[in-house]
Symmetry: D2
Subunit: 362 residues, 4 copies
């Protein structure tokens, strides 16, 4: 912990020093031009930062330990040495016996309709994905997505077919062998959805719904966990810790665009690709992107998809429609779904990139 104190607040400097010592830590005191800084050596977690901030003259205080220890990449081991942990490899097995593994340099494609609207609609898309997967030899990298329960900004918009959609997804899984991911919106749904789906999604609006985070943490299903629309990285990772603390570390972080003062009618939000290497260096978790919701426009999706490949994303979550689908039959976010033919081009591009030996590290 580092504590900045105004120079003239000598009483505070002395009192905070005493406080630090009373917690069996050691204060290193530095006298600057305008501020005095106290650096706390020892187990600073014992010290209440809010309390420290109430002393007169204290300007700032912050911790230098990780706020998300369970998922952090670097931790302190038994012998008080720093340990660099390996990235976890989330594996999702399909009925076809293949594991979809989210790990470096071989991203997994999670594709399907925004909302499951009928068996026919979902099956046509899944069949199309199977054709692509077989043609490109990447069946072990393809998963299905489809919304059963849909959060909608406006209360009277279409909210999904619910359990009926789950039945459809189960059937399509049986027919194609693809595992599927679907969103859970309420604690009351969590156990049942976790029992049936292969991966559970937490949507952007629920990113700090701690009750729901703990509920999915108590299942053992992999969780596709989306960033809040204005979540700072620290906030997001700190919230992910809620899931991990329940014993479930199979967390797949998903960037989906953030609010921006400059986002205009050319994009819906601002995708933050830089977060990909940042997450890789800070945590043991894999990270994917959702170009469909971040862009809100089907013409931008391929750009974001391919750029994410370059950034080393561990997967992409893409809304697709069948080539022969008229967008008018879709009740949800029709504008951002890409056709299967476009999706195939994107996947081809990705596979080409990854065969490249380029490495940017100095």
């Amino acid at each position: 912990m580092i504590i900045e104190i105004e120079k003239e607040s000598t009483d505070t400097v002395r009192q905070v020093g005493d406080l630090v010592r009373s917690m069996h830590c050691r204060p290193d005191i530095l006298h600057g031009d305008l501020f005095t800084v106290i650096a706390v050596e020892g187990d600073a977690t014992r010290i209440d930062m809010d309390y420290v901030l109430t002393f007169p003259g204290v300007v700032r205080a912050w911790r230098i330990s990780s706020p998300y220890k369970t998922i952090a990449r670097r931790v302190i081991g038994d012998n008080n040495q720093k340990v660099e942990r390996k990235r976890i490899a989330i594996a999702v097995r399909g009925k076809d016996g293949l594991d979809r593994v989210f790990r470096d340099s071989r991203p997994v494609f999670i594709a399907g309709p925004c909302a499951v609207e009928s068996y026919d609609q979902t099956a046509r898309i899944a069949d199309g994905l199977a054709v692509i997967a077989d043609r490109l030899g990447c069946r072990d990298r393809m998963m299905l997505r489809g919304g059963a329960f849909k959060p909608r900004t406006r209360a009277w918009d279409f909210r999904g077919l619910g359990w009926e959609a789950m039945d459809i997804l189960d059937r399509v899984r049986d027919n194609t062998g693809f595992p599927y991911c679907t969103e859970v919106m309420a604690v009351s749904q969590a156990e049942e959805v976790a029992r049936r789906a292969d991966m559970i999604q937490i949507g952007t609006r629920n990113y700090q719904n701690f009750d729901l985070l703990e509920a999915v943490g108590q299942t053992r299903r992999p969780v596709l966990y989306k960033r809040g629309v204005s979540a700072e990285l620290e906030e997001w990772l700190s919230a992910a810790e809620y899931i991990a603390l329940q014993g479930n570390k199979n967390i797949l972080l998903c960037e989906r665009g953030v609010k921006s003062t400059v986002a205009g009618d050319y994009n819906r939000s601002h995708i933050d690709l830089d977060v990909i290497p940042a997450i890789h260096s800070r945590t043991i978790l894999p990270v994917i992107i959702d170009p469909s919701h971040s862009s809100g426009r089907s013409d931008l999706v391929p750009y974001q998809f391919c750029a994410a490949s370059v950034y080393g994303a561990n997967g992409m979550l893409v809304e697709v429609i069948a080539d022969d689908t008229d967008r008018k039959t879709i009740q949800c976010d029709a504008r951002q779904a890409v056709r299967l033919s476009v999706f195939e081009k994107m996947v081809r591009f990705q596979i080409g990139i990854e065969s490249s030996p380029i490495r940017f590290e100095e």
Copy 2:
């Protein structure tokens, strides 16, 4: 609904025109320099805007009807005339038999600790509030707040005493006569909290937790509903509609600061006072502000409190501590709570302002 179409997309113009007519509406077509605009006359709610957006050449489309009809100030009446509805007056009755009414020009003060940490702590604050209320003759404008269940960004921070805190709040209410408001974080708590508390708070992190919004909407308790940290006004009001659609219109909107690219160490977030008159002109709901969480600093709280008075806020939600409390005994947001003596000055200022006859309308 207004639809902008690129000028050369004449096929689209014709097809959208046909679509509009097929829905028994009338298209008014305008030929601009670069765009053709179709203005839809009639009940445009029958037209699927997502579908319209999928036509080639359609640039934008938007509705000109309200997205939150249940709480909107102006609606269409039976005879197809616009009706201007009155602002609702939420009344919360205390054990002292007095109604706290949120209405224009007489704001209600909701004050108390951030978290209920003990009976003694809570009672001392409530007793102090009672002294102030009696001294200033504003007992019917004073309510108690206190957190039993606390959402925390970090999973291991103090999360409140839970039901034990509710017991304390019940006791303090019996002793002082003040009604109280407390936050509900989970659907499983909603019914019980609604049965006991006089007002239920939905916190900023749950602003789009639609499951929880509907749960409190099914109770009949007044709901203090906070804005999300990056919620646009339309998004916030559209989410409030989730509560209202369950039959509960006793919604007290609460502005608590938004994220900003320029907020620095001098304030935690950016309070949006302009939203107060905007809400008054758009909805029938009262609106209050929370200067404690928006500023994050006790020295800023009085400024924001008094500025909100000028703006016509219907109430203020303020964290206070007893004058003889050492901030170190507080586990939650100690930095932003003001002392009772400061709170009294703020209330005095407010009472002075409101007696002023100033009116700004031209």
Copy 3:
């Protein structure tokens, strides 16, 4: 200076330590869980922070000295003691022999048209202001504003009458006795405008036009210096230092609203009133607000004006139009100007507030 280094980068810790000592400073080294922190004692300005950041393992580094020493409130005196300087009192003398002084608790009102469009238009407004000033006994707190050179987002919008407008302003000053403020947009105009106007405005788009800042710094005229639309406080004050370093400390900071992710059609930008006490505590400069440009709507101007009074602003810059003016005759920002009758109410409110003895400090 504080330097955070990854724990395992022991070489870097040693090298940075050597570097610090080579600059005749002393490194205090703290070993944290994950990071090592070096706190530099002595004159850290000799150390190149960019250089420090290039060492492998250095995570962050920052200075704890003020980046705007010339205008800072607290500085280091000769005897190495911290000195608290007094706020400067900018005085602008009118032809009527009265000084308009920007100092605490007695704000100055700078009012007039957005753009000077004719002698008649400007004189009618100035005459109206004179009537108000005399009626309320605040002539020594009233100044005139009016744009001669207008920056416009779009190149073909009306850009002001230029020097012809200066002639009009000179005439109106002669007739009413009010000093006036006008914007300068180009270095080539600076000297002449400074010779004639009583106060020079730097607009928001030129907030980091360092060339222009230095040009007005070389004059001795008071400078009304607006914040950039997304300027952080530190950036703004650091840029103000460009003016001050040329020898001109008569800088009147002006908050005019910042960009926000949530600003909607109910306000043009987001006014940051919290910056007022922040500037007062950090610098010796007075600060005013511009509710006209920040809100963009005449109906919001009185709210922001009066809220700024509560916050202790040293002045307000307001666009007004004559009561009998039709907005159609105005070529520039007609929507945000208030009528003289509304302006008078605002000033009355302000005078009432300031006679109140309220003080918020604990």
Copy 4:
């Protein structure tokens, strides 16, 4: 022009209709649920939008013509037909006789030091670039950049060598044949810099310094024009129009990252890659990106560079240092410069991408 009016303001509807007709345009009037909309047919540029906004009951008004006609991709031709113009191809000829052409699918690399600090430093980098260019056969796609006049947020930071740096750049150009780009900060420098440099840069802080924009517009040199840190696309393009209206359309737009509420210590700002296709569809201008300033970190530069390739950027502006340079000898932004060896990898990747036949259009 489209004008939204509150339904009950029938007088306003009539008056605005009269106004529109008086300007020889035709009003199409649409009666919605809550609003009446008037769509103006004809040459709406004659109508003063500010005036329209002052009528009581007018909610919004906006134009549907382009605000940046000179650089727009689609314009109205003589016969009143929409014309789709071709993207301009800016060509910069080096002393080696080769043209660097900014056009689709073959980006130009503009590389060099942030600031020119000595002949030796600049020559070593330029020589390294020449080696790479010859090795990869892309000499006609390589240009030099280097700062002579440096804008700095803080007044006492290093501000560049000025004209001495221009002499160095001239010498390096003579030796290597590479054309160079350098920033101009003041109107007084514009003519001389334009005479000597091959391309003039307008920096992000001067994006709305209209005086300077017009000065470079009066030269005929290509202008590398950076986006403001919070400029919306419309604002940026409208400001570019200031340059174009002076007769100089050789404008190379440069995205360099925007302010964000979530940008943290993992990136300096938020790069907006989506702006690349948006500019291509709206204007005739080429667009490049500056990954060095947008990221502020050398480890992120390759990611942003390669992602921009995927997006179809027409060039990249990159700060490089020689492989054997110690970052400590650099006075300006050392942290964000990449070594020549890393730069070469990035260029190799780009060349590989562009040989790929992928096209994303449906």
